[in-house]
Amino acid sequence: MITVLFFAKLSEQLGVKSLQVDWQQAQDVDQLFQYLTEYKKEWSVTLTSQPCLRAVNQEMVTNNIKLKAGDEVAFFPPVTGG
């Protein structure tokens, strides 16, 4: 399984903080993202209508990368700390 996390506005809009996705559905980050846009009817708009950063195993990624079972993938809005 892949652990998927959402944060901040994104998690609020989706109404979910985390979910488990079967690795078969998510062999890389792009595929996982695609899977999520089809997960529920309104998710496609929420996920594609705003900038959405990605982290794999707690490291920011900008390119698509391969996933393996047990990976933690997070999606979140641009950060605003400090």
Partner: protein, 149 residues
């Protein structure tokens, strides 16, 4: 020293921790505070969400980058999370070096990277009672780009 914490921090204690060695000639500190006005509207309080685990990693990585570029004798990064009020301390970055140039550059570099890379998100409650997630600033990305070698 890197810490992500709910509780407040004390300026003097953090300063004294940085001042521990007699080879130190310069200490630069940055403290970020909750302002009463943001983007023109009055703020009453602020909630800081973060990505536990990744925040610490991200801050450590930023500090390592700073250490590879400048001579740093000691460094501290503290970022608070949770519920905060106007004038509360949010973030502290302190750098101790032999010379001031290193301390200034490293401190500003860490803040500029923290602002664009560390997974913290602010949600402001306005005086009207409404709350909204703070938008990322384009200017923070511009500021960061000045450090690209």
């Amino acid at each position: 020293m890197i810490s992500v914490q709910q509780q407040d921090f004390n300026q003097q204690s953090e300063y004294e921790r940085l001042r521990c060695q007699s080879s130190i000639g310069a200490i630069v500190t940055f403290t970020g505070l909750v302002r009463d006005i943001n983007d023109g509207y009055s703020v009453s309080d602020l909630c800081l969400e973060h990505y536990p685990g990744m925040t610490e990693k991200s801050l450590m990585n930023i500090v390592e980058q700073a250490k590879s570029r400048w001579n740093i004798i000691a460094s501290t990064v503290i970022h608070r999370v949770g519920q905060l009020s106007i004038n509360d301390q949010i973030v502290f970055v302190g750098i101790a070096s032999q010379h001031r140039g290193d301390a200034f550059a490293a401190c500003e570099f860490i803040m500029d990277y923290l602002k664009t890379e560390a997974p913290f998100w602010k949600k402001e409650t306005m005086e009207s009672g409404e709350s909204k997630w703070v938008d990322a600033r384009e200017s923070d990305h511009k500021t960061r780009s000045k450090w690209v070698m």
